[in-house]
């Protein structure tokens, strides 16, 4: 097992206490950076590290920061703590057990783009975590690690929390901004991109919790140390949320490029009752269903290789399905999820998901006819490339791939 960077709290007890985090060397990098480094040096280091966004899209983090124009102020940084993709539970572990690592990352990011105000957007279900964060942030301010004129420099930073109230779509970055601004969480038309006109119409960086938690290590240990883990194009470690029909579900921090087989059979200790593994969904409910062939199991989990076998890596929420699972039931669940979470703004997503859940319900209840399978496929394919945001596209992935690879599961449910 490689060194634990993000899940270090599993090795150092009490890391979610400020004094323990400080005793462990925490916030030294923060102080050093604010007092002796230039913002563009931080940006260049993060760019050189090759760190890619852990929230789903895998976009290079430093490159994203560099899009902020230097003639429009103020700049904002927003941490995406909405974590709502079914099968994803890594940010929650960080927020509860290694919160200061994430906060220090958010601070360093704010310094890099010279933001004086940063926001943490928590999903509504994390209300306890958010409350605790308000206390933590107040304590950091009292200790002089946040606030005005930090360490005698002219740099100031305030961090605010904002609590959502139950809406998957608010994880999408522009819907998230709408939600902070007090409106319905519906995505914005792009361009303009948030880097130019984001929160309160100002240049904004939005990053996932885990992405931000990688920054202190890069700034403390350096680019080369960071790049020691992972692959050339997908450097670093990643937290894989393993769930479904495995013996030992949970979060595992492993180098990017670790194979599905190692994750599922070594760390996850294999399948419940040693049943046969049937399919993998590497990116939660938004994922394509990948038949668990030997070739798929031996695929390295990095951004390129996973995409090559048919699904983006997303936020690496690996859901495992075994031979006891009927794929029609899985699809019934995902289409209901998306139907419930569609924000209603665009017609293909709203209506498409409504119809997909109806047809799928009919099949699941044993009242489906043969034509229903084709109808389901046709609704899904007609939605593709027509939705306003990625949610609509995501909703079709499991349906189309499920019907392609596991049609017999649907046929078995039809009216006899």
């Amino acid at each position: 097992m490689s060194e634990l960077i993000l899940l270090r709290h599993r090795e150092v007890a009490g890391l979610n206490q400020l004094k323990t985090y400080i005793a462990d060397g925490g916030f030294e990098t923060w102080k050093k950076v604010v007092t002796s480094r230039k913002p563009e040096e931080v940006l260049n280091d993060v760019k050189a590290s090759g760190l890619r966004g852990r929230g789903g899209a895998g976009f290079p983090t430093g490159v994203k920061w560099s899009f902020l124009p230097n003639n429009i102020w103020p700049h904002y940084v927003v941490a995406n703590s909405d974590e709502s993709e079914p099968g994803t539970f890594k940010d929650r572990e960080l927020l509860e057990f290694n919160p200061y690592l994430f906060i220090e990352g958010l601070m360093l990011t704010s310094f890099a783009v010279q933001a004086n105000d940063a926001y943490i957007y928590f999903r509504g279900e994390f209300s306890q975590i958010a409350k605790k964060f308000d206390e933590r942030l107040a304590e950091l301010t009292a200790k002089g690690l946040l606030g005005d004129a930090l360490f005698g420099t002219n740099y100031s930073l305030r961090i605010h929390t904002h609590l959502g109230a139950g809406a998957y779509i608010c994880g999408e970055e522009t819907a998230l901004l709408e939600s902070i601004e007090g409106r319905l969480g519906q995505p914005r038309l792009r361009p303009p991109f948030p880097a130019v006109a984001g929160l309160f119409d100002k240049p904004t960086v939005i990053n996932n919790v885990e992405t931000l938690a990688n920054i202190p290590y890069i700034m403390e240990k350096g680019v080369d140390a960071f790049r020691k883990n992972g692959t050339e194009k997908s450097p670093g470690t990643k937290i894989f949320s393993l769930s479904g029909r495995v013996k030992k579900p949970g979060n595992y921090e492993l180098p990017l490029g670790t194979t599905f087989r190692e994750l599922i059979f070594k760390h996850g200790e294999g399948i419940i009752n040693d049943a046969k593994v049937k399919a993998i969904m590497p990116a939660g409910a938004s994922s394509t269903l990948i038949p668990a062939t030997d070739a798929a199991l031996d695929t390295p989990m990095d951004y390129e290789s996973t995409t090559a076998i048919g699904s983006p890596l997303g936020s690496a929420s690996v859901m495992v399905l075994d031979e006891t699972v009927n794929i029609s039931r899985v699809i019934n669940n995902t289409v209901h999820f998306f139907s419930h979470e569609s924000c209603g703004k665009c017609t293909p997503c709203r209506e498409g998901n409504f119809w997909m859940s109806h047809i799928s319900d009919r099949i699941e209840s044993g009242k489906g006819k043969k034509d229903d399978i084709e109808l389901l496929n046709s609704v899904a394919t007609q939605m593709q490339n027509k939705c306003f945001c990625a949610l609509g596209e995501f909703s079709t992935m499991a349906v189309v791939s499920g019907l392609q690879h596991f049609r017999a599961d649907f046929e078995a449910r039809l009216e006899s």
Partner: protein
């Protein structure tokens, strides 16, 4: 008279101070959480008061309440017991857990127990999929996670909550079948 403002002047100032001065609308969600924490739901009066504080219309505030699933416009059970039956949990028995729990309590998802203690709801992924079956309990505006559940464990917890919140024993359909969990403490 704005009751919310009167009751929480400092808290409301703190909330407003988080956002740019000309962006008061951003305070809508934190204010809704504040109001809901008081009454367990967002009343018509609270809507008007929040509209007044943030300078938007009551209709706009109401549409925010309608959009987000954790905001409620009507009082229901004191405990909103929200069971995740999303994909990853379903793969680990959450649907069967919910069915059994509902049978024992004699209510269906979406319904409230006659004593007003519990409203059962089916919800989407709660970011705790490795600890299924699980539910979150929303009481007022507080949300608490209860992981690795069995119907018996949940009933045990509900028993203690029933005593604490409404002072009467928990109503179940088949008490005798609901054996307390080993090592579980209850009378």
């Amino acid at each position: 008279m704005n009751q919310l403002l009167k009751k929480f002047p400092e808290e409301i100032n703190r909330i407003l101070a988080r956002y740019p001065i000309d962006r008061k609308q951003a305070a809508v969600m934190p204010l809704l959480h504040l109001a809901q924490g008081e009454e367990g739901f967002v009343s018509r009066t609270a809507l008007q008061e929040i509209a007044e504080i943030t300078g938007i219309s009551t209709t706009e505030v109401a549409s925010v309440v309608g959009f987000y699933t954790l905001f409620h416009d009507a009082p229901e059970g004191k405990i909103r017991l929200q069971v995740c039956t999303d994909v990853a949990c379903d793969l680990r028995g959450a649907t069967e857990y919910l069915t059994e729990l509902c049978e024992k309590l004699g209510i269906k998802p979406g319904e409230t127990s006659t004593d007003g203690l519990i409203t059962i709801e089916e919800v989407k992924c709660l970011a705790a999929c490795d600890k299924a079956p699980l539910f979150q309990a929303q009481i007022g505006d507080e949300v608490d996670y209860h992981e690795n559940q069995t119907p018996a464990r949940t009933i045990d917890w509900l028993r203690s909550m029933s005593a604490a919140l409404i002072g009467t024993p928990l109503k179940t359909i088949s008490l005798e079948e609901t054996k307390p969990e080993e090592g579980g403490s209850h009378e």
